[in-house]
Amino acid sequence: MDHRPQAWGRPRDDVYGAYDASYLHSNTPKTATQSPVVTGTSVVGLKFADGVVIAADNLASYGSLARFTDVKRLRVFLDSSVVGFGGDVSDMQYLDRHLNELAIDEAYDHLTPDSSASKTASLNAANLYKYLQKLMYARRNDFDPLWNQILVAGLDGAQKPFLGSVDLRGTSFTSPSLATGYGAMLAQPIMRRVAATEEDAARLTREQAVDVVKECMKVLFYRDARSLDRYSIAVVTKDGIELKEDEQLEKQSWAFAERIRGYGTQTV
Protein backbone atom coordinates (compact mmCIF):
# COMPACT_ATOMS: atom_id res chain seq x y z
CA MET A 1 0.00 0.00 0.00
CA ASP A 2 1.04 3.54 -0.66
CA HIS A 3 1.90 5.21 2.63
CA ARG A 4 3.17 8.50 1.26
CA PRO A 5 1.37 11.51 2.74
CA GLN A 6 0.12 12.64 -0.69
CA ALA A 7 -1.88 9.42 -0.96
CA TRP A 8 -3.57 9.83 2.43
CA GLY A 9 -7.32 9.91 2.26
CA ARG A 10 -7.39 8.99 -1.42
CA PRO A 11 -9.22 6.04 -2.89
CA ARG A 12 -6.80 3.14 -3.02
CA ASP A 13 -5.34 2.47 -6.43
CA ASP A 14 -5.36 -1.30 -5.84
CA VAL A 15 -9.09 -1.19 -5.16
CA TYR A 16 -10.38 1.60 -7.44
CA GLY A 17 -7.66 1.78 -10.09
CA ALA A 18 -5.36 4.75 -10.75
CA TYR A 19 -6.87 8.21 -10.66
CA ASP A 20 -7.99 9.31 -14.11
CA ALA A 21 -6.37 12.70 -14.57
CA SER A 22 -7.05 12.88 -18.28
CA TYR A 23 -9.69 15.58 -17.92
CA LEU A 24 -7.00 17.92 -16.64
CA HIS A 25 -5.13 17.79 -19.93
CA SER A 26 -7.52 18.79 -22.62
CA ASN A 27 -6.45 18.20 -26.19
CA THR A 28 -8.38 21.13 -27.61
CA PRO A 29 -6.50 24.35 -28.31
CA LYS A 30 -6.73 27.23 -25.84
CA THR A 31 -9.67 29.40 -26.78
CA ALA A 32 -10.41 33.01 -26.00
CA THR A 33 -13.42 35.15 -26.95
CA GLN A 34 -15.19 33.49 -29.87
CA SER A 35 -18.12 35.84 -30.14
CA PRO A 36 -19.51 38.95 -28.51
CA VAL A 37 -22.19 38.54 -25.84
CA VAL A 38 -23.95 41.77 -24.94
CA THR A 39 -23.64 44.04 -27.95
CA GLY A 40 -24.13 47.58 -29.10
CA THR A 41 -25.07 48.21 -32.70
CA SER A 42 -24.05 50.95 -35.15
CA VAL A 43 -21.99 54.06 -34.48
CA VAL A 44 -22.09 56.81 -37.12
CA GLY A 45 -19.71 59.72 -37.56
CA LEU A 46 -19.50 62.60 -40.03
CA LYS A 47 -16.96 65.40 -40.44
CA PHE A 48 -17.98 68.98 -41.17
CA ALA A 49 -16.18 72.27 -41.69
CA ASP A 50 -14.76 72.71 -38.18
CA GLY A 51 -15.51 69.50 -36.36
CA VAL A 52 -17.05 66.05 -36.23
CA VAL A 53 -20.49 64.71 -35.31
CA ILE A 54 -20.76 61.24 -33.85
CA ALA A 55 -23.80 59.28 -32.65
CA ALA A 56 -24.80 55.88 -31.28
CA ASP A 57 -28.03 54.61 -29.75
CA ASN A 58 -28.36 53.72 -26.06
CA LEU A 59 -29.13 50.01 -26.47
CA ALA A 60 -27.16 46.98 -25.39
CA SER A 61 -28.66 43.79 -26.82
CA TYR A 62 -28.31 40.25 -25.50
CA GLY A 63 -28.76 38.38 -28.75
CA SER A 64 -32.07 39.64 -30.06
CA LEU A 65 -33.24 40.73 -26.60
CA ALA A 66 -33.15 44.49 -25.96
CA ARG A 67 -31.45 43.91 -22.61
CA PHE A 68 -30.16 47.35 -21.44
CA THR A 69 -31.76 50.53 -22.73
CA ASP A 70 -29.69 53.30 -21.14
CA VAL A 71 -26.17 52.31 -22.15
CA LYS A 72 -23.84 55.17 -23.08
CA ARG A 73 -21.68 54.11 -26.00
CA LEU A 74 -20.00 57.46 -26.64
CA ARG A 75 -17.04 58.10 -24.35
CA VAL A 76 -15.17 61.36 -23.91
CA PHE A 77 -11.37 61.22 -23.85
CA LEU A 78 -9.39 64.08 -22.25
CA ASP A 79 -12.18 66.60 -22.98
CA SER A 80 -10.98 66.68 -26.59
CA SER A 81 -11.98 63.45 -28.37
CA VAL A 82 -15.02 61.18 -28.44
CA VAL A 83 -14.78 57.43 -28.87
CA GLY A 84 -17.85 55.52 -30.09
CA PHE A 85 -18.08 51.80 -29.48
CA GLY A 86 -19.96 49.14 -31.41
CA GLY A 87 -19.79 45.44 -30.53
CA ASP A 88 -19.24 43.77 -27.17
CA VAL A 89 -20.25 45.93 -24.22
CA SER A 90 -17.99 44.33 -21.63
CA ASP A 91 -15.01 44.81 -23.93
CA MET A 92 -16.15 48.42 -24.29
CA GLN A 93 -16.11 48.77 -20.51
CA TYR A 94 -12.62 47.32 -20.41
CA LEU A 95 -11.46 49.76 -23.07
CA ASP A 96 -13.18 52.62 -21.30
CA ARG A 97 -11.32 51.89 -18.08
CA HIS A 98 -8.12 51.51 -20.04
CA LEU A 99 -8.55 54.84 -21.78
CA ASN A 100 -9.47 56.42 -18.46
CA GLU A 101 -6.12 55.33 -17.08
CA LEU A 102 -4.38 56.60 -20.20
CA ALA A 103 -6.09 59.95 -19.72
CA ILE A 104 -4.97 60.12 -16.10
CA ASP A 105 -1.39 59.33 -17.16
CA GLU A 106 -1.54 61.97 -19.84
CA ALA A 107 -2.77 64.55 -17.33
CA TYR A 108 0.20 64.09 -14.96
CA ASP A 109 2.24 66.64 -16.81
CA HIS A 110 -0.59 69.11 -17.20
CA LEU A 111 -1.24 70.52 -13.75
CA THR A 112 -3.22 73.31 -15.40
CA PRO A 113 -5.54 71.28 -17.63
CA ASP A 114 -7.47 74.24 -19.03
CA SER A 115 -4.50 76.17 -20.39
CA SER A 116 -4.32 76.27 -24.17
CA ALA A 117 -0.71 75.04 -24.11
CA SER A 118 -1.63 71.89 -22.24
CA LYS A 119 -4.56 71.27 -24.59
CA THR A 120 -2.49 71.28 -27.76
CA ALA A 121 0.26 69.21 -26.12
CA SER A 122 -2.09 66.44 -25.03
CA LEU A 123 -2.96 63.29 -26.95
CA ASN A 124 -5.30 64.29 -29.78
CA ALA A 125 -7.80 62.16 -31.68
CA ALA A 126 -5.21 61.11 -34.29
CA ASN A 127 -2.83 59.94 -31.54
CA LEU A 128 -5.64 58.08 -29.80
CA TYR A 129 -6.67 56.43 -33.09
CA LYS A 130 -3.11 55.23 -33.63
CA TYR A 131 -2.97 53.89 -30.08
CA LEU A 132 -6.24 51.97 -30.38
CA GLN A 133 -5.10 50.57 -33.71
CA LYS A 134 -1.95 49.13 -32.08
CA LEU A 135 -3.91 47.87 -29.09
CA MET A 136 -6.58 46.09 -31.15
CA TYR A 137 -4.04 44.58 -33.52
CA ALA A 138 -1.89 43.30 -30.64
CA ARG A 139 -4.95 41.68 -29.09
CA ARG A 140 -5.96 40.00 -32.32
CA ASN A 141 -2.39 38.65 -32.67
CA ASP A 142 -2.83 37.10 -29.22
CA PHE A 143 -5.98 35.46 -30.63
CA ASP A 144 -7.87 37.28 -27.87
CA PRO A 145 -9.51 40.19 -29.68
CA LEU A 146 -11.54 42.93 -28.07
CA TRP A 147 -14.82 42.45 -29.94
CA ASN A 148 -15.49 46.02 -30.95
CA GLN A 149 -15.59 48.32 -33.87
CA ILE A 150 -14.59 51.78 -32.76
CA LEU A 151 -14.93 55.28 -34.18
CA VAL A 152 -12.62 58.01 -32.94
CA ALA A 153 -13.82 61.59 -33.46
CA GLY A 154 -11.91 64.76 -32.66
CA LEU A 155 -9.17 66.97 -34.03
CA ASP A 156 -5.71 66.07 -35.30
CA GLY A 157 -2.36 67.73 -34.62
CA ALA A 158 -3.12 70.56 -37.04
CA GLN A 159 -6.49 71.15 -35.30
CA LYS A 160 -8.32 69.79 -38.37
CA PRO A 161 -11.37 67.51 -37.95
CA PHE A 162 -10.41 63.86 -37.53
CA LEU A 163 -12.52 60.73 -37.86
CA GLY A 164 -11.09 57.22 -37.80
CA SER A 165 -12.26 53.64 -37.46
CA VAL A 166 -10.57 50.64 -35.81
CA ASP A 167 -12.02 47.14 -35.56
CA LEU A 168 -11.38 43.94 -33.66
CA ARG A 169 -8.79 42.83 -36.22
CA GLY A 170 -6.84 46.06 -35.98
CA THR A 171 -8.03 47.14 -39.42
CA SER A 172 -8.11 50.90 -39.47
CA PHE A 173 -8.98 53.70 -41.84
CA THR A 174 -10.16 57.28 -41.91
CA SER A 175 -12.85 58.87 -44.03
CA PRO A 176 -15.05 62.00 -44.11
CA SER A 177 -17.93 59.77 -42.97
CA LEU A 178 -17.79 56.46 -41.13
CA ALA A 179 -20.24 54.00 -39.66
CA THR A 180 -19.92 50.65 -37.93
CA GLY A 181 -22.05 47.51 -38.14
CA TYR A 182 -25.41 47.95 -39.86
CA GLY A 183 -24.62 51.61 -40.23
CA ALA A 184 -21.85 50.75 -42.69
CA MET A 185 -24.56 49.47 -45.00
CA LEU A 186 -27.51 51.72 -44.20
CA ALA A 187 -26.02 55.03 -43.02
CA GLN A 188 -22.93 55.40 -45.18
CA PRO A 189 -24.86 55.96 -48.44
CA ILE A 190 -26.87 58.72 -46.78
CA MET A 191 -23.78 60.45 -45.44
CA ARG A 192 -21.90 60.04 -48.71
CA ARG A 193 -24.68 61.91 -50.49
CA VAL A 194 -23.53 65.05 -48.67
CA ALA A 195 -19.87 64.23 -47.99
CA ALA A 196 -18.39 61.91 -50.59
CA THR A 197 -14.99 63.60 -50.31
CA GLU A 198 -12.99 65.56 -47.75
CA GLU A 199 -13.73 68.71 -49.74
CA ASP A 200 -17.47 68.09 -49.51
CA ALA A 201 -17.23 67.53 -45.78
CA ALA A 202 -15.21 70.73 -45.35
CA ARG A 203 -18.14 72.65 -46.86
CA LEU A 204 -20.75 71.20 -44.47
CA THR A 205 -22.03 73.35 -41.63
CA ARG A 206 -22.45 71.96 -38.16
CA GLU A 207 -26.25 72.08 -38.48
CA GLN A 208 -26.20 70.21 -41.78
CA ALA A 209 -23.94 67.53 -40.38
CA VAL A 210 -26.05 67.07 -37.24
CA ASP A 211 -29.21 66.81 -39.36
CA VAL A 212 -27.69 64.16 -41.62
CA VAL A 213 -26.47 62.11 -38.66
CA LYS A 214 -29.89 62.32 -37.01
CA GLU A 215 -31.45 61.19 -40.28
CA CYS A 216 -29.06 58.21 -40.26
CA MET A 217 -30.05 57.31 -36.73
CA LYS A 218 -33.68 57.36 -37.79
CA VAL A 219 -33.14 55.13 -40.81
CA LEU A 220 -31.14 52.75 -38.63
CA PHE A 221 -33.96 52.60 -36.12
CA TYR A 222 -36.42 51.85 -38.91
CA ARG A 223 -34.41 49.02 -40.43
CA ASP A 224 -32.04 47.65 -37.75
CA ALA A 225 -33.88 45.29 -35.41
CA ARG A 226 -31.15 45.68 -32.74
CA SER A 227 -31.53 49.44 -32.45
CA LEU A 228 -33.33 51.92 -30.25
CA ASP A 229 -34.94 55.33 -30.67
CA ARG A 230 -33.01 56.80 -27.73
CA TYR A 231 -29.49 57.76 -28.61
CA SER A 232 -26.39 59.80 -27.74
CA ILE A 233 -24.91 62.41 -30.02
CA ALA A 234 -21.72 64.45 -29.66
CA VAL A 235 -20.23 67.33 -31.60
CA VAL A 236 -16.47 67.85 -31.30
CA THR A 237 -14.93 71.20 -32.29
CA LYS A 238 -11.99 73.37 -31.24
CA ASP A 239 -14.21 74.83 -28.53
CA GLY A 240 -14.74 71.45 -26.89
CA ILE A 241 -17.31 68.70 -26.84
CA GLU A 242 -21.06 68.97 -26.72
CA LEU A 243 -22.36 65.57 -25.67
CA LYS A 244 -26.06 64.76 -25.28
CA GLU A 245 -26.69 61.28 -23.93
CA ASP A 246 -30.46 60.94 -23.80
CA GLU A 247 -31.90 62.07 -27.14
CA GLN A 248 -35.16 60.86 -28.61
CA LEU A 249 -35.63 60.27 -32.33
CA GLU A 250 -38.05 62.87 -33.62
CA LYS A 251 -40.70 62.85 -36.32
CA GLN A 252 -40.79 59.13 -36.85
CA SER A 253 -43.05 57.94 -39.59
CA TRP A 254 -43.78 54.26 -39.96
CA ALA A 255 -46.04 54.70 -42.98
CA PHE A 256 -43.45 52.99 -45.16
CA ALA A 257 -43.98 49.82 -43.15
CA GLU A 258 -47.43 49.47 -44.67
CA ARG A 259 -45.87 48.92 -48.06
CA ILE A 260 -43.54 46.17 -46.94
CA ARG A 261 -44.72 42.75 -47.93
CA GLY A 262 -43.36 39.25 -47.61
CA TYR A 263 -42.41 39.15 -43.93
CA GLY A 264 -44.26 38.14 -40.77
CA THR A 265 -47.87 37.19 -40.64
CA GLN A 266 -49.37 39.18 -43.51
CA THR A 267 -51.54 37.08 -45.71
CA VAL A 268 -52.29 39.50 -48.55
Binding site: A60, F68, D70, V71, R73, M92, Q93, R97, A107, P113
Partner: protein, 293 residues
Protein backbone atom coordinates in the same frame (compact mmCIF):
# COMPACT_ATOMS: atom_id res chain seq x y z
CA UNK B 1 26.06 65.99 15.72
CA UNK B 2 25.16 64.05 18.82
CA UNK B 3 26.14 60.43 19.34
CA UNK B 4 27.14 59.58 15.82
CA UNK B 5 29.56 56.87 14.97
CA UNK B 6 30.36 53.78 17.03
CA UNK B 7 29.55 51.85 13.88
CA UNK B 8 25.81 51.67 14.28
CA UNK B 9 25.15 54.40 11.73
CA UNK B 10 27.04 52.91 8.81
CA UNK B 11 24.27 50.77 7.41
CA UNK B 12 20.53 50.94 7.12
CA UNK B 13 18.22 48.73 9.21
CA UNK B 14 20.75 48.48 12.05
CA UNK B 15 19.54 49.23 15.57
CA UNK B 16 21.91 51.03 17.89
CA UNK B 17 21.99 49.71 21.49
CA UNK B 18 19.49 52.40 22.48
CA UNK B 19 17.09 51.35 19.77
CA UNK B 20 17.64 53.94 17.06
CA UNK B 21 18.05 53.54 13.31
CA UNK B 22 20.61 56.22 12.55
CA UNK B 23 20.31 55.98 8.77
CA UNK B 24 16.65 56.94 9.03
CA UNK B 25 17.58 59.89 11.21
CA UNK B 26 20.17 60.98 8.65
CA UNK B 27 17.54 60.74 5.92
CA UNK B 28 15.48 63.19 7.97
CA UNK B 29 18.46 65.53 7.83
CA UNK B 30 18.24 65.46 4.04
CA UNK B 31 14.61 66.54 4.37
CA UNK B 32 15.51 69.36 6.70
CA UNK B 33 17.80 70.85 4.06
CA UNK B 34 15.04 70.97 1.45
CA UNK B 35 12.67 73.83 0.55
CA UNK B 36 9.62 74.17 2.79
CA UNK B 37 6.44 72.32 1.83
CA UNK B 38 3.08 72.77 3.52
CA UNK B 39 -0.46 71.48 3.26
CA UNK B 40 -3.65 73.02 4.64
CA UNK B 41 -6.89 71.16 5.03
CA UNK B 42 -10.15 73.08 5.39
CA UNK B 43 -13.78 72.07 4.95
CA UNK B 44 -13.88 73.02 1.27
CA UNK B 45 -10.70 71.23 0.29
CA UNK B 46 -6.92 71.02 0.51
CA UNK B 47 -4.15 73.40 -0.50
CA UNK B 48 -0.55 72.30 -1.13
CA UNK B 49 2.32 74.77 -1.39
CA UNK B 50 6.08 74.58 -1.76
CA UNK B 51 8.98 76.99 -1.64
CA UNK B 52 11.20 76.21 -4.62
CA UNK B 53 14.63 77.64 -4.05
CA UNK B 54 15.98 78.97 -7.33
CA UNK B 55 19.45 77.43 -7.36
CA UNK B 56 20.42 78.94 -10.71
CA UNK B 57 19.31 81.90 -12.75
CA UNK B 58 19.45 79.65 -15.79
CA UNK B 59 16.46 77.56 -14.66
CA UNK B 60 13.41 78.14 -16.81
CA UNK B 61 11.00 80.09 -14.60
CA UNK B 62 7.82 78.22 -13.71
CA UNK B 63 8.73 75.18 -15.80
CA UNK B 64 9.92 72.76 -13.12
CA UNK B 65 6.91 71.62 -11.12
CA UNK B 66 7.41 70.13 -7.69
CA UNK B 67 3.79 69.33 -6.88
CA UNK B 68 2.62 66.21 -8.63
CA UNK B 69 -0.78 64.75 -9.46
CA UNK B 70 -1.09 61.12 -8.38
CA UNK B 71 -4.66 60.50 -9.39
CA UNK B 72 -7.27 63.00 -10.54
CA UNK B 73 -8.21 63.84 -6.96
CA UNK B 74 -4.87 63.47 -5.15
CA UNK B 75 -1.74 65.62 -5.13
CA UNK B 76 1.66 65.19 -3.51
CA UNK B 77 4.32 67.68 -2.49
CA UNK B 78 7.61 66.84 -0.82
CA UNK B 79 10.74 68.30 0.75
CA UNK B 80 14.19 66.79 0.52
CA UNK B 81 15.87 64.92 -2.30
CA UNK B 82 13.89 65.70 -5.44
CA UNK B 83 14.78 62.50 -7.37
CA UNK B 84 13.58 60.46 -4.37
CA UNK B 85 10.39 62.50 -4.46
CA UNK B 86 9.89 61.65 -8.10
CA UNK B 87 10.33 57.97 -7.30
CA UNK B 88 7.75 58.33 -4.53
CA UNK B 89 5.32 59.95 -6.96
CA UNK B 90 5.88 57.22 -9.57
CA UNK B 91 5.10 54.58 -6.98
CA UNK B 92 2.05 56.48 -5.72
CA UNK B 93 0.73 56.64 -9.28
CA UNK B 94 1.23 52.89 -9.63
CA UNK B 95 -0.68 52.32 -6.39
CA UNK B 96 -3.53 54.56 -7.50
CA UNK B 97 -3.73 52.77 -10.82
CA UNK B 98 -3.66 49.28 -9.30
CA UNK B 99 -6.40 50.32 -6.89
CA UNK B 100 -8.48 51.46 -9.86
CA UNK B 101 -7.80 48.16 -11.64
CA UNK B 102 -8.90 46.12 -8.66
CA UNK B 103 -11.79 48.09 -7.23
CA UNK B 104 -12.96 50.08 -10.27
CA UNK B 105 -13.04 53.23 -8.17
CA UNK B 106 -10.58 56.01 -7.32
CA UNK B 107 -8.27 55.30 -4.39
CA UNK B 108 -9.31 56.99 -1.14
CA UNK B 109 -6.62 59.39 0.11
CA UNK B 110 -6.31 57.46 3.37
CA UNK B 111 -5.56 54.23 1.53
CA UNK B 112 -2.96 55.87 -0.66
CA UNK B 113 -1.27 57.33 2.42
CA UNK B 114 -1.32 53.90 4.04
CA UNK B 115 0.20 52.18 1.02
CA UNK B 116 2.88 54.81 0.59
CA UNK B 117 3.64 54.74 4.32
CA UNK B 118 4.19 51.02 3.95
CA UNK B 119 6.40 51.55 0.93
CA UNK B 120 8.62 54.10 2.68
CA UNK B 121 8.85 51.85 5.74
CA UNK B 122 10.05 48.95 3.60
CA UNK B 123 13.09 51.05 2.67
CA UNK B 124 14.14 51.14 6.34
CA UNK B 125 14.16 47.37 6.65
CA UNK B 126 17.08 46.23 4.52
CA UNK B 127 20.78 46.92 4.32
CA UNK B 128 20.50 46.70 0.55
CA UNK B 129 18.56 49.95 0.25
CA UNK B 130 18.55 53.37 1.84
CA UNK B 131 15.56 55.21 3.27
CA UNK B 132 13.84 57.92 1.24
CA UNK B 133 15.39 61.34 1.70
CA UNK B 134 11.99 63.02 1.62
CA UNK B 135 8.97 63.81 3.72
CA UNK B 136 5.87 63.79 1.55
CA UNK B 137 2.59 65.62 2.08
CA UNK B 138 -0.36 63.90 0.44
CA UNK B 139 -3.57 65.87 -0.08
CA UNK B 140 -6.77 64.59 -1.62
CA UNK B 141 -10.49 65.08 -1.89
CA UNK B 142 -12.46 61.84 -1.89
CA UNK B 143 -15.64 62.34 -3.88
CA UNK B 144 -18.61 63.13 -1.70
CA UNK B 145 -20.93 62.03 -4.48
CA UNK B 146 -21.99 58.49 -5.26
CA UNK B 147 -18.73 57.22 -6.70
CA UNK B 148 -19.02 56.63 -10.44
CA UNK B 149 -17.65 53.23 -11.29
CA UNK B 150 -14.97 53.17 -13.97
CA UNK B 151 -16.48 51.69 -17.11
CA UNK B 152 -20.04 52.28 -15.92
CA UNK B 153 -22.31 52.42 -18.96
CA UNK B 154 -25.82 53.04 -17.65
CA UNK B 155 -27.66 54.38 -14.66
CA UNK B 156 -28.31 50.99 -13.07
CA UNK B 157 -31.39 50.18 -11.02
CA UNK B 158 -33.05 53.13 -9.31
CA UNK B 159 -34.53 50.98 -6.53
CA UNK B 160 -33.75 47.67 -4.90
CA UNK B 161 -30.24 46.24 -4.86
CA UNK B 162 -27.91 48.86 -6.27
CA UNK B 163 -30.37 51.64 -5.40
CA UNK B 164 -28.67 54.71 -4.01
CA UNK B 165 -29.08 56.27 -0.62
CA UNK B 166 -29.16 60.00 -1.23
CA UNK B 167 -28.89 60.91 2.47
CA UNK B 168 -25.54 59.30 3.17
CA UNK B 169 -22.51 61.57 3.28
CA UNK B 170 -19.26 60.28 1.84
CA UNK B 171 -15.76 61.51 1.21
CA UNK B 172 -14.27 64.91 1.97
CA UNK B 173 -10.84 66.55 2.17
CA UNK B 174 -7.86 64.66 3.57
CA UNK B 175 -4.27 65.52 4.33
CA UNK B 176 -1.43 63.20 5.36
CA UNK B 177 2.30 63.60 5.93
CA UNK B 178 4.69 60.65 5.50
CA UNK B 179 8.21 60.69 6.97
CA UNK B 180 11.32 58.75 5.86
CA UNK B 181 10.64 56.16 8.59
CA UNK B 182 7.30 55.39 6.97
CA UNK B 183 5.48 57.00 9.86
CA UNK B 184 2.43 58.97 8.80
CA UNK B 185 -0.39 60.91 10.44
CA UNK B 186 -3.41 62.77 9.21
CA UNK B 187 -3.16 66.56 9.59
CA UNK B 188 -5.22 69.72 9.52
CA UNK B 189 -2.07 71.62 8.63
CA UNK B 190 1.26 69.99 7.78
CA UNK B 191 4.71 71.44 7.20
CA UNK B 192 8.13 70.01 6.40
CA UNK B 193 11.49 71.11 5.06
CA UNK B 194 13.83 73.89 6.06
CA UNK B 195 11.24 76.33 7.33
CA UNK B 196 8.98 73.81 9.05
CA UNK B 197 9.30 75.33 12.53
CA UNK B 198 8.12 78.77 11.48
CA UNK B 199 5.49 77.25 9.21
CA UNK B 200 4.13 75.01 11.96
CA UNK B 201 3.88 77.96 14.34
CA UNK B 202 1.86 79.86 11.72
CA UNK B 203 -0.35 76.86 10.93
CA UNK B 204 -1.15 76.40 14.61
CA UNK B 205 -2.37 80.00 14.83
CA UNK B 206 -4.96 79.30 12.14
CA UNK B 207 -7.17 77.15 14.38
CA UNK B 208 -7.74 74.68 11.55
CA UNK B 209 -8.76 72.02 14.03
CA UNK B 210 -11.27 74.17 15.85
CA UNK B 211 -14.55 75.46 14.49
CA UNK B 212 -13.03 78.22 12.37
CA UNK B 213 -14.32 77.58 8.86
CA UNK B 214 -11.62 78.78 6.60
CA UNK B 215 -12.61 79.01 2.96
CA UNK B 216 -10.42 77.39 0.33
CA UNK B 217 -9.51 80.80 -1.05
CA UNK B 218 -8.40 81.96 2.41
CA UNK B 219 -6.40 78.77 2.78
CA UNK B 220 -4.59 79.61 -0.47
CA UNK B 221 -3.76 83.07 0.86
CA UNK B 222 -2.58 81.64 4.17
CA UNK B 223 -0.46 79.03 2.40
CA UNK B 224 1.24 81.74 0.34
CA UNK B 225 1.81 83.84 3.44
CA UNK B 226 3.21 80.95 5.47
CA UNK B 227 5.68 79.99 2.74
CA UNK B 228 6.85 83.59 2.66
CA UNK B 229 7.13 83.72 6.47
CA UNK B 230 9.04 80.44 6.55
CA UNK B 231 11.48 81.67 3.93
CA UNK B 232 14.65 83.03 5.45
CA UNK B 233 15.34 86.17 3.43
CA UNK B 234 18.75 86.79 4.88
CA UNK B 235 20.30 83.41 4.13
CA UNK B 236 18.33 81.83 1.35
CA UNK B 237 18.41 82.44 -2.34
CA UNK B 238 15.33 83.61 -4.17
CA UNK B 239 12.43 81.22 -4.48
CA UNK B 240 9.41 80.42 -6.58
CA UNK B 241 6.08 79.70 -4.92
CA UNK B 242 4.14 76.77 -6.35
CA UNK B 243 0.62 76.00 -5.15
CA UNK B 244 -2.08 73.48 -6.01
CA UNK B 245 -5.54 72.84 -4.64
CA UNK B 246 -8.33 70.29 -4.56
CA UNK B 247 -11.96 71.14 -3.85
CA UNK B 248 -15.11 69.03 -3.80
CA UNK B 249 -17.21 68.49 -6.92
CA UNK B 250 -19.08 71.77 -6.35
CA UNK B 251 -15.90 73.78 -5.67
CA UNK B 252 -13.55 75.62 -8.01
CA UNK B 253 -11.56 72.53 -9.08
CA UNK B 254 -14.57 70.17 -9.37
CA UNK B 255 -12.90 67.47 -7.30
CA UNK B 256 -9.63 67.53 -9.24
CA UNK B 257 -6.09 68.27 -8.15
CA UNK B 258 -4.91 71.23 -10.21
CA UNK B 259 -2.51 74.13 -9.99
CA UNK B 260 -3.89 77.26 -8.31
CA UNK B 261 -4.70 79.64 -11.20
CA UNK B 262 -2.02 82.24 -11.89
CA UNK B 263 -4.17 85.28 -10.99
CA UNK B 264 -5.18 83.83 -7.63
CA UNK B 265 -1.61 82.81 -6.82
CA UNK B 266 -0.20 86.19 -7.73
CA UNK B 267 -2.86 87.96 -5.67
CA UNK B 268 -2.12 85.68 -2.70
CA UNK B 269 1.58 86.35 -3.07
CA UNK B 270 1.03 90.12 -3.28
CA UNK B 271 -1.01 90.03 -0.05
CA UNK B 272 1.61 87.84 1.61
CA UNK B 273 4.39 90.28 0.79
CA UNK B 274 2.26 93.19 1.96
CA UNK B 275 1.57 91.53 5.31
CA UNK B 276 5.22 90.66 5.72
CA UNK B 277 6.22 94.23 4.96
CA UNK B 278 3.72 95.55 7.52
CA UNK B 279 4.90 93.25 10.28
CA UNK B 280 8.55 94.09 9.70
CA UNK B 281 7.67 97.78 9.76
CA UNK B 282 5.97 97.22 13.11
CA UNK B 283 9.06 95.50 14.43
CA UNK B 284 11.14 98.42 13.34
CA UNK B 285 8.74 100.83 15.02
CA UNK B 286 8.90 98.90 18.26
CA UNK B 287 12.64 98.75 18.32
CA UNK B 288 12.90 102.46 17.54
CA UNK B 289 10.42 103.16 20.37
CA UNK B 290 12.66 101.30 22.74
CA UNK B 291 15.63 103.23 21.59
CA UNK B 292 13.91 106.42 22.47
CA UNK B 293 12.98 105.30 25.97
Amino acid sequence: MTSIGTGYDLANSIFSPDGRNFQVEYAVKAVENGGTSIGIRCKEGVVLAVEKVVASKLLKPGANKRIATVDRHIGVVYSGMVPDGRHFVDRARDEARSWRDTFKTPIPTADLASRMGGYMQAYTLYQSVRPFGITAIVGGFDSELEAPVDGEVGRGPSVGAGGKNPDKKHGGPFLYMIEPSGLYWGYYGAATGKGRQAAKAELEKLDLKGGADMSLLEAVKEAARIIHVAHDDSNDKEFELEMSWISGADGPTKGRHVEVPKEIREEAERLAKELLQDSSDEDNDKSSDKMEE
